[in-house]
Symmetry: C2
Subunit: 218 residues, 2 copies
C-alpha cells in the first residue's frame, strides 16, 4: 500500500508540473510533441530527417533523453537547431520536472516546435505527462505486429502511431495489416503513418501531420 | 527522499525473495536463466528455437512475462514443455514475488532448466533479481550498436550478450565490431554470441553455452 501511495503522489506531482508546462507552451504558442518507443525503433533517426525537412523559418528545438551518453544530442545538434540532452542516470522515463529544468534559458516565445525524444522504453514513459500536445509512438516493423496489444497504454495514449523502418518489410515476418488492426483495436482514432527514413517513404505524410498540428496555431 | 526510501525497501524485499528462490533452484538443481531485452528483440522466437533444439530428456519449463496478453505462452506451449504466462497488468518488469507465485504446483526437482522471459524493457528488469543463475541480454541488429552504452546496467549485469537477427545485417546500418566493442567496454567478461533464428546462425553456440552452464550441474 505504501508503494502505491508514493507512486500516486509522484504521478500527482508530475501531473501538476505537466499542467504548468502545458500552460506555458500554450501561452508561448510552442507545439510540443513527445516521441516514445522501444530502444532502437528509430526516434533519433526520424528527428534527424525531420530537422532536415523542416520548412525554412520554423523555429525548432529538441530535448533528447537517455539513461546514459549524450550521443543523440551530438547527432541532432548537427542540424543547427538548439538541442539539449537529458541524461537520466538510470531513470527509465522523462518527467515534467526534468523538462522544466532543461528548458531553463530557452525563450519559448522564440520556439514554434519542441521535439521531446523520450528514453527508449515502451512502458514507463506512457505514465508521465510532459505537458506535450501529443504523444507519438513509434513501432518498427522488426518488432512484431502484436506490440500494440502487449503494450496497450502507450498506443492508447498516442495521437499518432508511426510504423517505422518500412524499408525492412521485405526481410521480416511483419504483417502491416495485422499491425494496423492491432493498433486500431487499442486506439480507434489515432492516425497511423508508415515511414522509412532510409527510403523516405511516408515522411511527407509525417511532415504534413506535424504541420497540421503545429503551424495551424499561427 | 520518501520515494528513494520506498524504492530501496521494495528492492530489498525483492532481494530477500530472490535469495530464497536462488536457494530453492540450487537445491533442486534447476538452472534458471532470465532473458531481458527491448520489446521485439526476439526473446520469444529464440525460446521457440531453443525448445525445438533441446536435447531429448532435458526437462525444461518457461515463465514468460508481458504487460498484457498471453500470446507468448500460447506460442511457446506448442513445444510440449510446461509454460506459464505472467501478465503484469502494467508493471514494467518481473519481480521475485511473481516468479515464486507462478512456480506454485511445479516440482523443481523435475526441472533441469527454467527459462524466464522478462517483460520487453531494457531498463527496469535489470534492477530485479529473480534468483536466476544468469541474466542474458538480447540486442537485435536493428536497434543500433550504441545500445550497450545507453543502457549499461543490463549489459553490465548479463553473463551472456546475444546479438540477434543477424540475418538482417545486410539491410541495416549496424557495425557488428563497434557493437561488440561497446558491449566489451561495459562488460569485459560476458560472452557474446551472434545469432539468427531465421538462418540458424549461432544457435549451436547458444545451445552449447546453455549446456555448459546447465548440464554441467548433473
Amino acid at each position: 500500500m505504501t508503494v502505491i501511495a508514493v507512486e500516486t503522489k509522484v504521478l500527482n506531482e508530475n501531473q501538476r508540473l505537466a499542467a504548468e508546462l502545458r500552460e506555458r507552451f500554450a501561452r508561448a504558442g510552442t507545439l510540443v510533441v513527445n516521441l516514445i518507443s522501444a530502444p532502437g525503433s528509430g526516434k533519433t533517426r526520424l528527428l534527424e530527417r525531420t530537422l532536415e525537412l523542416l520548412p525554412d523559418g520554423v523555429r525548432a528545438a529538441v530535448l533528447t533523453g537517455d539513461i546514459q551518453t549524450d550521443a543523440d544530442a551530438t547527432r541532432l545538434a548537427r542540424f543547427g537547431y538548439p538541442v539539449r540532452q537529458i541524461t537520466t542516470g538510470g531513470t527509465c522515463h522523462l518527467d515534467a520536472k526534468m523538462i522544466g529544468h532543461h528548458l531553463e534559458g530557452w525563450d519559448l516565445e522564440e520556439l514554434d516546435i519542441l521535439f521531446i525524444e523520450n528514453v527508449g522504453n515502451l512502458v514507463c514513459p506512457s505514465s508521465y505527462d510532459l505537458g506535450e500536445a501529443a504523444k507519438i509512438v513509434l513501432l518498427s516493423v522488426t518488432e512484431g505486429e502484436e506490440k500494440p496489444l502487449k503494450y496497450p497504454s502507450i498506443f492508447f495514449k498516442s495521437k499518432l502511431i508511426l510504423i517505422t523502418k518500412a524499408d525492412l518489410l521485405p526481410y521480416v515476418p511483419f504483417d502491416l495489416e495485422i499491425a494496423k488492426k492491432n493498433a486500431r483495436s487499442v486506439n480507434a482514432t489515432a492516425e497511423i503513418i508508415v515511414v522509412s527514413c532510409q527510403s523516405d517513404e511516408g515522411l511527407a505524410g509525417w511532415m504534413e501531420w506535424l504541420g497540421s498540428v503545429s503551424f495551424a496555431r499561427d
